[in-house]
């Protein structure tokens, strides 16, 4: 099996989906000749032509809106929004149409499309290039919201998202693009959407994370094991919505304690639903309130202050200790 970083793994998923199915198109700003600003669509235009890998004009709403039209016709567009910070420009097309066309047409139409976007911090970037907006999509009925945590599951999840008959918002952590290589099987591989994974088993406490924060949670678990002798379970959500509540509840019924970690601002964020769902399903097992480690409720802080804003290992460890000591 070749070892690939996440960029190459995503590229492989796109390549294989396009090879298999002529209805799959790629559409976005700079996805063609340039291969995407992060090179995720590298070489696809050369292989599949400029009718299938489309360098669109600079207009997010029309990228999504025309893709809705293509999907209504039966194609399977995979759109790239250059940075998740620019997806508010097309938020009306996503909420009004991607999410609703199946319901509006009572099943006559459906929208088998994927919207890929790089999200999250770490690239020393300007405003709107480092935020985490998953909450906005998770709250929209009719969408699925997926965030992989490494090359292999990124490839498998993207393949699954492209095959999915419903619209999938697919966030890619910029922090992970070149972070690590993993063995990725050459033959195509999918994993079901909507299922969380236990990234590490444990019994004393459940750490819940996704995307770039999974690594932070795993490192925090190392610290807790090494310094506190505590055995933390780490759950990697992979799909944010529909949320795999069973996996969360099962884990917390075992551990009695949980900490959620995400890069999105804390208030009214994904951690709230995760915490509330755990309370719903595992109330009697809970030994402590579910704690949330998240970005602060502040707008963009500039990359000089980014480290202080995004959850890091010490903050997760501290929250875990407070939860254990509750």
């Amino acid at each position: 099996m070749p070892k690939l970083n996440m960029v190459k793994a995503l590229n492989l998923a796109l390549f294989q989906a396009m090879e298999r199915d002529a209805d799959v198109l790629v559409l976005g700003e700079d996805v063609g000749v340039d291969g995407g600003v992060f090179r995720v669509t590298d070489d696809l235009q050369r292989k599949f032509g400029s009718q299938r890998v489309i360098d669109s004009p600079l207009a997010e709403a029309a990228i999504i809106g025309t893709a809705v039209g293509m999907a209504l016709y039966g194609l399977k567009p995979v759109c790239e929004i250059q940075f998740s910070g620019f997806a508010f420009q097309c938020f009306h097309q996503i909420e009004n149409h991607c999410a609703r066309y199946r319901a509006r047409s009572q099943g006559r139409f459906h929208i088998p499309m994927v919207i890929r976007m790089p999200y999250g911090g770490s690239v020393r970037a300007l405003e709107h290039h480092s935020e985490s907006e998953e909450q906005f999509y998770a709250h929209i009925p009719g969408l699925k919201m997926v965030i992989p945590s490494g090359p292999r599951n990124a490839r498998a999840l993207l393949a699954a998202a492209i095959s999915d008959p419903d619209p999938v918002i697919f966030f890619e952590a910029k922090a992970l693009y070149h972070a690590a290589k993993e063995e990725v099987p050459e033959e195509s591989e999918t994993v079901p959407l909507g299922r969380a994974q236990v990234a590490r088993e444990g019994s004393a406490l459940t750490l819940i994370a996704y995307g770039a924060m999974v690594r932070v949670a795993l490192e925090a678990a190392d610290v807790l094991r090494d310094e506190d002798g505590v055995d933390a379970e780490v759950i990697d959500l992979l799909t944010i919505s529909p949320l795999d509540r069973d996996a969360l509840v099962t884990s917390v019924k075992k551990t009695g304690r949980a900490v959620v970690v995400h890069e999105a601002p804390r208030s009214f964020g994904p951690g709230a639903e995760i915490a509330a769902s755990i309370m719903d399903g595992a109330f009697l097992s809970l030994e402590a309130p579910v704690r949330r480690v998240a970005a602060h409720d502040v707008p963009f802080v500039g990359f000089a202050r980014e480290k202080a804003n995004i959850p890091d290992v010490p903050r997760v460890v501290a929250a875990a200790r407070a939860t254990l000591a509750f």
């Binding site: 207009a59 029309a62 016709y73 149409h97 047409s105 139409f109």
Partner: protein
């Protein structure tokens, strides 16, 4: 080269064939068969009569808010008439006449306006999008459909409808720009009815015409007398033929007037004068076309009466539709119901009173439309 005027000079044409005084430009008169002219007239009259019936249904509380067509029958039908069944129609929310013509059963539309989503479900063999409420958001869909048709090599043209107000939205701009760059077979039909609710055209845009907005995208734009069904037909015919031939999109501005309320929730006396309305009533598209048919001896007997009967029957069918089963709200959220929604559905089933029988499941959408020989000339 100092200060020069760029050539070619940009220009926009205006087209009128049958004016409100009955003058006919025979050189431009489209060569439509008598049966076609009759069909056009019937569809326009149906639009008008249904409109009136729907206003009454709304006043009686049997349907909810809707946007009447009255006055715009020629703009809608002159354009929609140029489409074949395999072409796509992308409506806004005021195209009742054209939607019925395209094949929506009247009772289905009534159901839609009575708050049943079932009414928004196009038939499997119908190439129509359902009503879109957020202004201008349907325009990129039309461009995407046209792109897909071109991509697949299908001999299909897409026609999209919108109002004068819609031209202010970003989606209008982005859609026309994409259409221009992609050179796809789409015809944009603006029903410039002078008002966007209470906002008159001069507060909507400082451009003299809507048609000239096409220049911003390098597209042909034409302004037509939108109350002249022959002119609308001629302009649409030309645009559809151009699209079909691979020569790209067109913007058509139909200059017309909304003779009625914006929607049944609107009170137009707040913002416009009776004189203005009376002036436009003189230009009623039906009167003009009726006189034309009369002159050509093409008028059918009792057409209004037969149409009223058709409507009455549809209203009866609409009224005998079963009440809405709340549980079906879970049927079309995703292809497969996630665990959580299943639980929500079960909770509702447990609390709702026994519901009427479910309406039949929708069969899967039809496969790819036929592939033909489409050419793009660019």
């Amino acid at each position: 080269m100092p200060r020069i005027t760029l050539e070619p000079r940009f220009q926009v044409e205006y087209l009128s064939i049958l004016d409100s005084d009955g003058n006919l430009d025979t050189a431009l008169e489209p060569k439509l068969a008598g049966e076609d002219l009759r069909a056009l007239y019937r569809a326009m009259v149906l639009g008008r009569r249904l409109d009136e019936r729907m206003v009454r249904l709304q006043r009686q509380g049997r349907i909810g808010t809707f946007a009447p067509t009255k006055g715009q029958e020629a703009s809608q039908m002159g354009s929609a008439f140029t489409l074949r069944r395999i072409d796509w129609m992308v409506p806004s929310f005021r195209e009742t006449a054209a939607m019925i013509w395209r094949g929506w059963p009247i009772e289905k539309l009534l159901l839609f306006f009575a708050g049943h989503l079932e009414g928004g479900q196009p038939a499997l063999d119908q190439h129509d999008l359902p009503i879109t409420i957020p202004v201008a958001t349907q325009l990129p869909h039309a461009v995407g459909l046209a792109y897909a048709a071109q991509y697949r090599g299908d001999d299909v043209v897409v026609m999209a409808y919108f109002g004068d107000g819609a031209t202010s939205e970003g989606d209008f701009h982005e859609a026309l720009n994409f259409a221009g760059v992609w050179h796809v077979p789409v015809v944009f039909v603006c029903q410039n009815n002078q008002w966007a609710i209470s906002v008159p055209l001069k507060k909507q845009t400082h451009s003299r015409t809507i048609a000239q907005k096409a220049l911003a995208y390098g597209l042909p734009g034409i302004q037509v007398d939108g109350n002249d069904v022959l002119a609308v037909y001629a302009a649409a015919r030309e645009a559809v033929d151009r699209a079909r031939a691979g020569d790209g999109p067109t913007l058509i501005e139909c200059v017309t007037y909304r003779l009625g309320v914006h929607t049944t929730a609107d009170d137009p006396t707040k913002y416009r004068t009776d004189e203005e309305v009376a002036m436009w009533e003189q230009k009623d598209p039906l009167t003009r076309f009726r006189a034309y048919l009369e002159k050509r001896n093409l008028l059918e007997a009792n057409v209004e009466q037969r149409i009223d009967e058709e409507i009455a029957e549809a209203v009866r069918r609409f009224e005998s539709a079963p009440p809405a089963d709340p549980l079906t709200m879970f049927d079309h959220v995703y292809a497969e119901l996630p665990a959580d929604l299943k639980a929500q559905r079960e909770a509702m089933a447990a609390r709702e009173p026994a519901a009427p029988a479910r309406t039949g499941e929708m069969p899967p959408p039809s496969p790819t439309p036929m592939r033909g020989q489409r050419l793009t000339r660019r």
